[in-house]
């Protein structure tokens, strides 16, 4: 190292900011160069004596700066706010726990969204011949006749009695509509927009159902449905047929007291008069 290079780095040496290699070279230089050594000694001494006393700001300085800082932050531009938000979010994203928790929540959310109801849940809804969905087929009276659906399916036993409410129903078409309740709201809506079948069709259908009951379960079980049809549709073909069938069943069950008024009612009907009289005579001869 020559004197010119030494003078260039002498302050770095005084402030101990040189790397070891250069420091060693400078050390070797001052060991044999008295001029450079005296320069270095003079600078070291100056450094020692020219320490300036520090000055302290007022006690409120920090509070004032922090208060100003709060003011400035409250009106930060949108870009800086966004940068800060990104910085905070990135800091959290770099940690594994929040990332794993976020993934878990995402998986649970996706499962809830993608997994659907089982097909069996939908099979519980049945569509009746009126095209109305019935939520509980075992409980609902699907035709508004007072006959439980279990009878129409032939699932009842012989001790099962007809719905006592059936007698109270009038024959008006409005009674064909099942009562609207909270569970049957959809069905009610559908009923309002769906045209009702004709009264004759309904009577025929119910008569067939009663006959089906008779065929499956015998007269004892069929008397109720026949009576229901008879009372609901008096004077109609189905009503007369139901009256004849009911009388026939009473006769077979040897309940002549109940069969006789029905047969007497049929005597006035041209279609059944002959048969009714013959049946009345047969009952009288017993």
């Amino acid at each position: 190292m020559d004197c010119e290079t030494f003078e260039r780095i002498v302050l770095d040496r005084v402030f101990l900011e040189l790397d070891e290699l250069t420091m060693g070279a400078a050390q070797r230089h001052v060991a044999h160069c008295s001029r450079c050594r005296s320069i270095e000694v003079g600078l070291r001494a100056t450094r020692e004596v020219c320490r300036l006393p520090t000055t302290t700001p007022t006690e409120e300085f920090t509070e004032g700066v922090v208060a100003f800082e709060r003011q400035i932050r409250s009106v930060l531009p949108l870009r800086q706010r966004a940068n800060r938000a990104v910085s905070v979010l990135a800091a959290y994203a770099m940690r594994p726990q929040p990332t794993m928790a976020a993934l878990l929540l995402l998986m649970i959310g996706a499962s809830l969204f993608l997994v659907r109801a089982r097909p069996t849940d939908r099979a519980l809804v049945q569509i009746t011949e009126r095209g109305v969905p019935e939520m509980d087929p075992d409980q609902n009276d699907i035709r508004g006749t007072g006959i439980p659906n279990s009878l129409t399916k032939g699932l009842h036993d012989s001790s099962q009695t007809p719905n006592p409410l059936a007698d109270e129903h009038s024959a008006s078409p409005s009674m064909l509509v099942p009562p609207c309740g909270p569970t049957a709201a959809v069905a009610c809506e559908r009923n309002a927009s769906t045209p009702l079948p004709s009264q004759a069709q309904t009577a025929d259908t119910e008569l067939e159902a009663a006959r089906s009951v008779r065929k499956e379960s015998g007269c004892a079980a069929a008397i109720g449905p026949f009576d229901a049809v008879r009372l609901r549709f008096p004077g109609s073909d189905a009503g007369l047929a139901a009256t004849w069938d009911a009388a026939d069943c009473y006769s077979k069950l040897r309940r002549n007291q109940e069969a006789r008024p029905l047969l007497q009612a049929l005597v006035t009907s041209p279609k059944y008069a002959k048969r009714a009289r013959a049946q009345l005579n047969a009952l009288s001869n017993r």
Partner: protein
């Protein structure tokens, strides 16, 4: 003291700055506490006015707030802070209106009684001599040209290395060495006859 406060106390300047970037205001308060004295002192010796130094220090820290997003963890906070100070002082000298207003119209809150250099009452002849020497150095330094004075103060008060002074002021390292050498030579001339200097030579 809670754990968070202890962490604040032990954290490096750069860690505190990153925490502040993430929204921890306490980190900023800690930084202000750490650097209020050197920043204020440099301002005081640079501008030769307590009130203006107070405003300069305040403006410097507010600049830290405004430019916090530009600070990178790899940078040295001290260098970055004195770089901001250098920029504000230069703008003040160049007559930039906003900076001049900020520094010449001190806030009414706490600038009424701005202290000068801390001076305890002398207790011995040695401390009296030290005070006299410090005054002589301050007096000699105050007549140095501004760039030389700035480099000298960044080194002696701000405790920046020469290379960091170059980074803070935007000058190259050889220029900083040259300015510092001039400052040392001139101050050496003014203190060469003192007993302290003679003792330091030994």
């Amino acid at each position: 003291m809670n754990r968070f406060a202890e962490n604040q106390k032990e954290a490096t300047d750069e860690m505190l700055m990153v925490r502040y970037q993430r929204g921890h205001r306490e980190a900023f308060a800690t930084l202000v506490n750490r650097y209020s004295v050197p920043v204020y002192s440099v301002g005081y010796y640079l501008l030769r006015s307590g009130a203006t130094a107070d405003q300069l220090a305040r403006e410097t820290f507010l600049q830290v707030v405004r430019e916090a997003a530009t600070f990178h963890l790899e940078a040295q906070f001290r260098t970055w802070l004195f770089g901001l100070l250098h920029r504000i002082v230069n703008e003040y000298h160049l007559g930039t209106p906003g900076v001049q207003d900020a520094l010449t119209n001190p806030a009414p809150s706490n600038s009424a009684e701005v202290p000068g250099p801390d001076s305890a009452p002398p207790t011995s002849s040695r401390s009296v001599r030290s005070q006299l020497l410090a005054r002589r150095v301050a007096s000699r330094m105050s007549i140095l040209p501004f760039p030389i004075r700035e480099v000298f103060l960044f080194k002696q008060v701000g405790q920046l290395s020469l290379i960091n002074i170059a980074a803070a002021t935007g000058a190259d390292l050889d220029t900083v060495r040259h300015l510092m050498r001039i400052a040392f030579d001139r101050i050496q001339d003014s203190v060469a006859d003192t007993e302290e200097y003679a003792r330091a030579l030994r």
